[in-house]
Amino acid sequence: MNQANHSRFPAWSPRALLRNRAFLTVAIVILVWVVAGFAKPGFGSYGHLRYLLELAAVIGLVAIGQTYVVIAGGIDLSVGAIVTVSAVGVPLVALSGDGSGTFAVLIILVAATSIGFLNGLGVAYLRIHPMIMTLAMATFLQGVLILIAGGTAISAQNPLLAWLGNARIIGIPAGVLLWAVVSGAALAVLHATPFGARLYALGANPLASALSGINVQATTMAVYAVSGLAAGLAGVLILGMNGQGYVGIGDPYLLASIAAVVLGGTSILGGSGSYAGTIPGAILLVTITALITVVNASAGWRSILFGSLILLLLLLSGRESQRR
């Protein structure tokens, strides 16, 4: 029996590791760090790498939701707007008697989750294509932002956020720690729960999933809600790190989150991939950005270099396996 079981579930092999996108992406990150560290003194310093991780934490958090959504066969174009809404929103809901600021953060996270949930509702019940639904939601949120932002003096005097943005625990920035904890949870949910399995099912073949008794609607709504929550969390973190939110603060995270997901080996077509690849994907992205920043060249050349680097690294980290 054991013998049979073995042939049916072959043991893990080193060769499989080399075909693993997440692993390859990690290897590339390390490679880039080493090369850049030698080429640009200061780049590879501990402090800088730690800072890159802090930046990656924000992208990484947003990309949790994006990874989930993409695996489930969708895409979320509203994450940037949700990040902004939550970063701008926390001060607005600051309540007296909420000394630690926890309550304000919780309210914002609930709001962000609800926005995601609405996305899911549109996708699941109105059967609106996720791109259209989330793009429309992003537009909608812009309108909301005009209403809520900038009108009054808003600045974040929130102790919890200040801690999140600045504290170091045994030398590790609180934001990175938060990312690590949430990532652990995200990975566990993705790979060790039936909910995670449902995402893979949905992304690979929604029809077969429905006929197998998976509640497609509920799963869809849940996954977009998770995406909203993750973006909300990222918004809160970025507010903590910056001390202040502003309209447009979330804009860079839309394409960054998608890029991190795809660089990490998750198929944009859905059904396969893992957040394990997105993590190094996010780190890779901030690393390249930092690298380009320190190159002294005209804006045009920097842009060209950035694009070429992404292409090159993509070539290394592996190709999309052919899909039938």
Partner: protein, 323 residues
């Protein structure tokens, strides 16, 4: 066994065209309603000048919607559309008033679009890299090129050419029809029609003798061409070049295509749908203006209109559908 030509067989092409309208009637109705509303709010629309001006603002979006749709039909997507539009505009504005003149400029713009598109296609398809991230990288490279050519807005388009394309003539409308016609012509070629098969079922298409890779790379090239031509038109319309003018077109082209029922996984959708989608996005802006919406309402309404335009036909078709 007799093989009698059956009624309708002789008009196969037109019947096929008719079938392709199915599923789009809802969108067509929404677009028509908006056009009617626009004409009601602004009766001046129903004049040569009115139509001309509206068509001018719509044409670039229609072109990029087509550029995106053709890729989506093959199962690809491009995030480089915006940058390619900018590049087209910049090349037009720097070449046309130079030695080679307007004709040389058109050639340069077209050639750069074809080449850049084909390159993206070759990289994405031959190297089997995911299109979305290849084109994201390409958008930086292409955008960088545009900045190198024209670091800040400038350049010039000869006045007569601007007036020809974007004066008080319905040239833009004619161009829309012309491009649509060329598209129909392309779809009537074996390579063109292969798009659908190559998008939906590449393995099967390959086995059936469809040059799958060629069809896809050609789609990328055409997409690049349409994008730079949109840039050329914008340059003519504005009389100059701007290295970041196209940025918004990336997402808008996707929105228009998806709104028009073009599927994300390849092989599903029609160009007429994408064009209708772009028309809706374009006319919506004017309608909201004439309804006097303040910015907040513009954003909110825009979101709702887009959702509504997709949801309504979906909901009505609901009962005929499988889960």
């Amino acid at each position: 066994m007799s093989s009698m030509i059956r009624t309708g067989d002789d008009r196969l092409y037109w019947r096929v065209q008719g079938e392709r309208n199915r599923g789009l009637m809802g969108l067509f109705a929404v677009v028509a309603a908006f056009l009617a509303l626009y004409a009601y709010l602004f009766p001046g629309l129903l004049s040569v000048a009115g139509v001309s001006k509206f068509a001018q603002s719509w044409l670039p979006l229609a072109l990029v919607a087509m550029a995106q749709a053709i890729l989506m039909l093959t199962g690809g997507i491009s995030l480089a559309i915006g940058a390619t539009v900018s590049l087209g505009a910049v090349i037009a504005a720097t070449t046309m008033s130079g030695y080679f003149g307007v004709a040389g400029g058109i050639v340069a713009v077209s050639a750069s679009g074809l080449v850049i598109g084909a390159l993206c296609g070759v990289i994405a398809i031959r190297l089997r890299l995911p299109a979305i991230i290849v084109t994201l990288a390409a958008s930086f490279i292409i955008g960088g090129l545009a900045l190198l050519i024209l670091p800040r807005p400038g350049g010039a388009i000869p006045g007569w050419f601007s007036d020809l394309l974007a004066g008080n003539t319905p040239a833009a409308l004619v161009l829309v029809f012309l491009v649509a016609l060329l598209w129909k012509l392309y779809l009537a070629t074996p390579l063109g029609l292969s798009l659908y098969a190559a998008g939906e079922n590449p393995v099967g298409a390959y086995r059936a003798g469809v040059p799958v890779d060629a069809a896809r790379i050609a789609a990328y090239a055409i997409s690049g061409l349409l994008s730079t031509l949109a840039g050329l038109f914008i340059a003519a319309q504005t009389g100059s070049g701007d290295p970041v003018i196209g940025q918004a077109f990336t997402l808008n082209s996707i929105a228009a295509a998806v709104l028009g029922g073009v599927g994300f996984l390849g092989g599903r959708g029609t160009m007429r749908g994408a064009i209708a989608g772009s028309l809706l996005l374009s006319v919506m802006i004017n309608v909201m203006f004439f309804l006097g919406f303040p910015p907040v309402a513009q954003y909110v309404a825009q979101g709702l209109i887009i959702i509504g335009a997709v949801a309504l036909p979906q909901l009505t078709a609901r009962f005929r559908r499988r889960p």
